[in-house]
């Protein structure tokens, strides 16, 4: 802790690349949270491979008991431990490094980290030892060992503590004037994620504390429908933390890799506020075919009050690529509609992760999500493989890919290590995202034939009655299985790169601008610099002389394609629904 670089305040070092002040305590918190996140990813990805090879009916690897057990392990490790530990790292990073600030009460930060780790280990033990075969959702009256619920409560309390520290860190930064003006948009996005995290974790307490008391016999029963309502206020809102954190990382990676600018602060910040305002309604679209709620409640809530949160994502879906386009144009890449895309650094894993994340999240995750989350269309989607088909496109292809892209920049900037296996790192985003795209396609189409999710054997070999699925289903499940093998290979590659770099990597303290270096992303060796007369250029692009489509014509074309795809998919599903029995 005493090895402060000369010239920086005690407890800080000065980043030789960016010139930022980095607090050493915060840096260690970022490192430890990120490392635990990667370990959870390793467990989750191994589980994913076993599950996919079981659902691929031609392989059918695991026995039934282990299939359901590993399914629970996969859910907890990926959706909770990997993602939330990484988000804790993001909060420490955004609160301190991006604001040149010191962290609030770092010792309490270690306490919270320890509490989260303890909770996670308890949950792992309960699941692996077969004391919690209730899957990720743990719907009562299915009952797990009380320690399972207690482990989750420990984890949530620790996470809530870190979120509180993040707000305290923001307050300190403001009071100590470590920055002037308004906080950067990326930090603002992280703050939106943190607010949503508070809402989410409070719902977690509301659902898991009574369930824990029920499991030890203090209260006689838990209303299964209220549990489903509150559980999804935890389970879905947790995904909205991911979305907000992911969008913040989009803005960050855009800035680092191609010099993306913020088109309009007002528009982008409002979009984050919309997430916060309407997120607690997100629970509803998991309950559209549940018996506990009426149509009016379902319609108002599933639409996040008239789709205001969808509006927010559609706004970011424009401003992020448009910011990249404008940034590139301001650097002189002005040829044609898509010259900025052609000339982009596709070999920089930070950039390729960013673009893959934006495209797959928007086109695949966004469109399928809004469609199957429609009250009536949910009748042909609920609990089929269409659902995991959708959320793998958002959480994995969207959030996880963005987090991986961010890692390639955190390794040199925070860990001060070269990215190991650089060639592999350049391929990794394509490998992982490509494999996931196959997984999502296979799942979505198999689900359209009615193939259920979370089901060990769709050949129904042990059932009283046969269910002969359309043979096409076997093809789609094979696509899913092959995609999973590719994607898990990509995930393992990422883990290998991260572990090698962090623990055995070549340390890097400085590098020369303009000189390419193996193991250092291009955005650091060749930082994107706007033209000298950038404000003048900007005025020109924004003026009427810039053309009818405005300063970012390429993006206008892209979002138009997106919008047409959205309409086509959405109305096709209404048409499919209309073929069913009359139900009401």
């Amino acid at each position: 802790m005493t090895a402060a670089v000369a010239g920086a305040a005690p407890g800080f070092r000065t980043c030789p690349v960016t010139g930022r002040k980095i607090d050493l305590q915060a840096e260690r918190l970022i490192k430890f949270n990120a490392v635990v996140a990667v370990v959870a990813l390793l467990v989750g990805a191994t589980a994913a491979l076993l599950l996919a090879l079981t659902r691929w009916q031609a392989v059918h690897l695991l026995p039934a008991v282990w299939y359901y057990r590993i399914l629970g392990v996969h859910g907890m490790n990926m959706l909770i431990f990997f993602i939330i530990f990484f988000e804790m790292a993001v909060l420490w990073f955004a609160g301190t490094v991006l604001l040149d600030a010191r962290p609030a009460a770092p010792r309490y930060g270690w306490f919270n980290f320890g509490l989260m780790l303890l909770g996670a280990l308890i949950v792992e033990f309960m699941q692996w030892s077969g004391r919690a075969d209730v899957l990720y959702t743990s719907y009562p009256p299915l009952k797990a060992h009380p320690a399972f619920y207690l482990g989750i409560i420990f984890f949530a309390v620790g996470a809530l503590g870190v979120v509180g520290q993040f707000f305290a860190t923001l307050t300190i930064a403001k009071r100590e004037k470590t920055y002037t003006g308004s906080m950067p948009l990326v930090v603002y996005g992280a703050m939106a994620a943190a607010v949503i995290a508070v809402i989410t974790l409070l719902h977690g307490a509301m659902v898991y504390i009574p369930t824990f008391l029920w499991s030890i016999g203090v209260i006689p029963s838990v209303n299964p429908q209220i549990y489903r309502l509150l559980w999804w206020a935890l389970g879905h809102s947790a995904q909205q933390i991911n979305v907000a954190a992911m969008v913040a990382i989009w803005y960050m990676l855009g800035a680092l890799t191609v010099g993306a600018v913020v088109l309009n602060e007002k528009v982008s910040r409002w979009a984050f506020v919309l997430y916060i305002l309407f997120i607690s309604m997100a629970s509803a679209h998991h309950l559209l075919v549940d018996p506990g709620f009426g149509p009016a409640w379902k319609i108002v809530n599933t639409s996040y009050f008239m789709y205001m949160a969808v509006l927010a994502s559609m706004v970011h879906g424009f401003t992020v690529p448009a910011g990249m386009e404008l940034g590139m144009r301001l650097r002189g890449f002005t040829d044609g509609l898509f010259g900025w895309l052609r000339r982009a650094p596709w070999g920089d894993p930070g950039f390729s992760s960013l673009i893959l994340s934006v495209v797959v999240f928007g086109f695949f995750g966004g469109i399928t999500g809004v469609t199957i989350g429609t009250e009536q269309i949910n009748i042909i989607a609920h609990n089929t493989l269409r659902v995991p088909g959708h959320f793998h496109a958002t959480v994995v292809s969207g959030t996880a890919v963005a987090f991986m892209g961010a890692t390639y920049y955190l390794l040199p900037l925070v860990f001060r290590r070269k990215v190991a296996f650089w060639r592999l790192a350049q391929w990794q985003p394509y490998l992982f995202a490509g494999g996931m795209l196959l997984v999502e396609t296979g799942m979505t189409f198999a689900g359209s034939f009615g193939v259920p999710r979370r089901h060990w054997d769709i050949s129904f070999s042990q059932s009283a009655f046969d269910v002969p699925f359309n043979p096409a289903v076997d093809l789609f499940l094979a696509i899913m299985g092959i995609g999973a093998i590719i994607a898990v290979t990509g995930a393992f590659a990422f883990i290998l790169i991260a572990v090698k770099s962090v623990f055995f990597g070549e340390s890097v303290t400085s590098f020369t601008r303009g000189v390419a270096m193996v193991g250092i992303p291009q955005g650091l060796t060749h930082p994107p610099v706007h033209a000298a007369n950038v404000n003048e250029l900007n005025e020109q692009l924004h003026s009427s002389k810039g053309g009818k489509l405005g300063p970012t014509p390429g993006t206008v074309v892209l979002v138009t394609v997106f919008f047409l795809a959205f309409m086509l998919y959405y109305f096709t599903n209404w048409k499919l629904l209309s073929f069913l029995w009359r139900i009401g």
Binding site: R228, L263, N264, T374, P452, F563, G584
Partner: protein
Amino acid sequence: MLTKVHTGLEPVQGVWWKPAHKAEKVWVAVAFAWCMVLFAMMPLWHWKGGQNPSGVRTRVDPKAYFARTVAFAQQYKVGDDRGVPIVQPPPGADVYLAGLTYSWYPILQLEQGKEYMLHISSVDVNHGFSLYPLNVNFAVVPTFDYALRVTPTAAGDFRIICNEFCGIGHHTMVGRVIVVDSAGRSVADNTGARVGQGGVR
């Protein structure tokens, strides 16, 4: 007029709430209008469409529900298959279906084009009602009776898959619904045929 060019990593100086460019405004307006369409489709489908998850929803004691289902099955029983009664209620009747680990009780025989009040509930844990091959899905939650008005539009031999994890034998939980055509002919005679052609193996 424009804000100084900056990235999302830099603090913003001064007054940054400047008006957005027209292209951005147009996209926000288009997205907002589309959101209104998405919203309007749901009430519209309740009004004009034929498939809605509304139903009549009541609380029920699982034991009482199962007793009612058994009584219903005895009243209208017309046969059985693998020990599960096949039940043919008159058109318009209240029809009861119970999910219990790991089976659906009883087998329903309905008439094409006739409306029934289909009650679904669970005797124990959460189950999922998934009508195959139509792909009609509803959640089955214990202590809640979900009564849906259904009108089968085509004859056939259907399956009910459980699509909510209900325990280690979850994947064996399959039920059966038979729809006979309007002439009263049983499409399913329960001898070695396939779904869609009638009967079981």
